[in-house]
């Protein structure tokens, strides 16, 4: 472990209380040029409410520490007060840029405890929707990453492309964000008529637009100057800090749960895992840009292979009866009422499920005591863990580069603070 000791001691991480920092500021020492400043929580480049305390010497960042919790709303506590049926409405609000993944991790956990088989069509719908969500999430990253580094035009383009995907989500789920679409037992509704044309139109627009992004950013000297060699992290450091997703892959380690520990139907589709070489900000940018292309490949195969059949489990314990049955059957009405008021009971036990979200491994640890509500619901949020790499990546770099690095971690504060 000795080569990793620097991750634990105070070389890069500023472990100092506010009182201590104030005390130090009061001491005037002309030889000591270090000063401690706060960046955020209200700063456009902090992606919401991230605050970073930094120790600067001139323009060089010595030690730093992300200060989080400004968006903490106790969602894990809330989850204990909601039924398994209502659970996805809560967890979908965590990572608001890729809500379907949190719903998926939660639903997979509930289904594991229930031991319910999911129809094939539901699995493929889930997979397609998640890949579309990965695209929209990465497009949002490209937009904010561009803006953070001064390519303000990129902000508009990224948002525009993302809107195409969100429009489709609205058509399928009824909402642009916080869908509550993936639920224990399947998905909330079948795909609407003409869905494949809509998806194909998204897929036909994007390749050209992604090439435009390449022209605008990837090949551009200023962009490369700002990102190459900035915020470097090694594979060993990333693993020791628990970092997953594009941060780990940027170091050249091809770890992707879709490939390493396949879930849904990722075994049945072809796609490549994009890896970087240097572990720098540019690699993390390039990985996300190219992952959009890989996701498009998966979505294309989903359109081709989408099976017919029910979109949710036929297990009446878990899923409400079809709407039409309610009009003709008293039992169905009672059943519908019961499921939505009391919820369904889940056998006692505990399970951990994980999916590959656009930010890394998103896990759900779920404990049931046999009742209709979880005893404990914990979300392993990738942004929360990944944020620990920040002090090590900006250590010794310039303050302006810190902006680039924060952006390249792509933290979603709703998920960090939960």
């Amino acid at each position: 472990m000795t080569q990793l000791d620097h991750l634990r001691n105070g070389d890069a991480v500023l472990r100092m209380s506010e009182a201590e920092a104030e005390e130090r500021a009061a001491v005037v020492d002309p030889d000591d040029e270090r000063m401690i400043i706060n960046m955020g929580p209200q700063h456009p480049s902090t992606h919401g409410v991230l605050r970073v305390t930094m120790e600067l010497q001139g323009e060089v960042v010595l030690r730093s520490k992300p200060v989080i919790g400004y968006l903490h709303t106790g969602m894990e506590k809330t989850a204990e007060d909601l039924t398994f049926m209502q659970g996805p409405t809560n967890v979908t609000r965590m990572d608001y840029a890729s809500p379907l993944f949190t719903e998926l991790a939660f639903s997979l956990a509930v289904e594991a405890l229930l031991d319910v088989e999911i129809p094939e069509r539901a699995t493929w719908i889930r997979m397609m929707m998640c890949e579309l969500n990965r695209m929209s999430s990465h497009l949002l990253f490209l937009a904010t990453n561009g803006m953070d580094l001064g390519a303000v035009g990129m902000m508009i383009y990224g948002w525009r492309e993302r809107e195409e995907v969100l429009r489709f989500f609205e058509k399928v789920t009824g909402l642009r964000m916080n869908h509550n679409y993936i639920r224990p037992g399947g998905v909330a509704a079948d795909l609407p008529d003409g869905w494949s044309e809509d998806v194909e139109s998204i897929l036909s627009i994007l390749p050209e637009r992604l090439e435009q992004f390449d022209v605008l950013m990837t090949g551009q000297p200023i962009w490369r100057e700002r990102t190459q060699g900035i915020g470097v992290i090694t594979t060993e450091e990333a693993l020791a800090l628990g970092a997953t997703g594009p941060i780990l892959r940027s170091t050249g380690y091809a770890w992707d749960l879709r490939r390493s520990m396949p879930y849904l139907a990722y075994d049945d589709v072809d796609f490549d895992i994009v890896v970087g070489t240097y572990g720098d900000t540019f690699d993390r940018y390039a990985i996300r840009l190219n992952e959009i292309r890989e996701s498009m490949r998966i979505v294309e195969q989903c359109i081709e292979k989408m099976p017919d059949g029910p979109y949710r489990a036929e297990d009446r314990k878990v899923t409400p009866p079809p709407r039409a049955r309610i009009d003709e059957s008293m039992e169905a009405l009672i059943h519908h009422f019961k499921i939505f008021t009391e919820g369904f009971k889940v056998p006692a036990g505990e399970v951990y499920t994980s999916v590959e979200s656009p930010r890394g491994e998103l896990g759900c640890y779920l404990v049931s005591d046999g009742g209709p509500k979880p005893q404990r619901m914990h979300i392993r949020a990738p942004s929360f863990v990944n944020l620990q790499t920040l002090p090590h990546m900006i250590h010794g770099g310039l303050l302006a580069d810190a902006i680039a690095v924060i952006s390249s971690i792509d933290p979603i504060m709703g998920e960090v603070d939960r």
């Binding site: 472990m1 990793l4 506590k77 896990g363 640890y365 404990r376």
Partner: protein, 184 residues
């Protein structure tokens, strides 16, 4: 910390390390010297707070190089928990999910932690990335981690009283607190 000296080389991974010292008299199967169960196809190791750190050390040596998740759980009032016979149920559990990224396998540790003295040894010497997760467990359950480099509140305000994810912390018990800003 004496465990972190000279153990940087992971040994040849052998999933059945605990197999040799298996005692036929013991009630439940063992792995790494502790009771092991299976939960929905996932391997779960059970330990108490005293054996916790050594167990994590053994798992690190066996190749579990990534601490994916660490969280607390409060079993107050939950009578449905099933544990191996040798394990004394306590109110709190620390649940650690480890990942062996080379052999592609996962393992979970459930360490029983009693209410009167909820203190464990921090696993940050093995996994620097457990720092934020342990801080979260400190906030939410009032657990303590000996040797943690920075045991300060992470998600809660510095002056928050109580541990919200404990079962006896009722929802809505405390009105929303806002920090006063001096001089305004």
């Amino acid at each position: 910390m004496n465990e972190d000296e000279g153990t940087e080389e992971t040994k040849d991974s052998d999933p059945d390390v605990g197999e040799d010292d298996q005692d036929p008299d013991l009630a439940s199967p063992r792995l790494y010297g502790v009771p092991v169960t299976e939960s929905h196809g996932q391997v779960v190791l059970h330990t108490d707070k005293n054996g916790y750190n050594d167990l994590v050390g053994a798992l690190v040596d066996d190749g579990f190089g990534v601490c994916i998740d660490l969280c607390g759980a409060d079993y107050l009032g939950n009578e449905t928990r099933v544990l191996p016979e040798e394990v004394t149920p306590e109110r709190f559990e620390v649940v650690v999910n480890l990942l062996d990224i080379h052999a592609v396998r996962r393992i979970r540790i459930r360490a029983q932690v009693d209410e009167s003295d909820p203190e464990l040894i921090s696993i940050t010497p093995f996994y620097p990335g457990a720092e934020a997760m342990e801080r979260e467990a400190i906030d939410m359950f009032g657990l303590q981690f000996q040797g943690h480099p920075d045991p300060t509140p992470i998600l809660l305000p510095d002056d928050w009283e109580g541990h919200p994810l404990r079962k006896d912390f009722a929802i809505g018990r405390i009105p929303v607190q806002f920090k006063a800003v001096e001089g305004r």
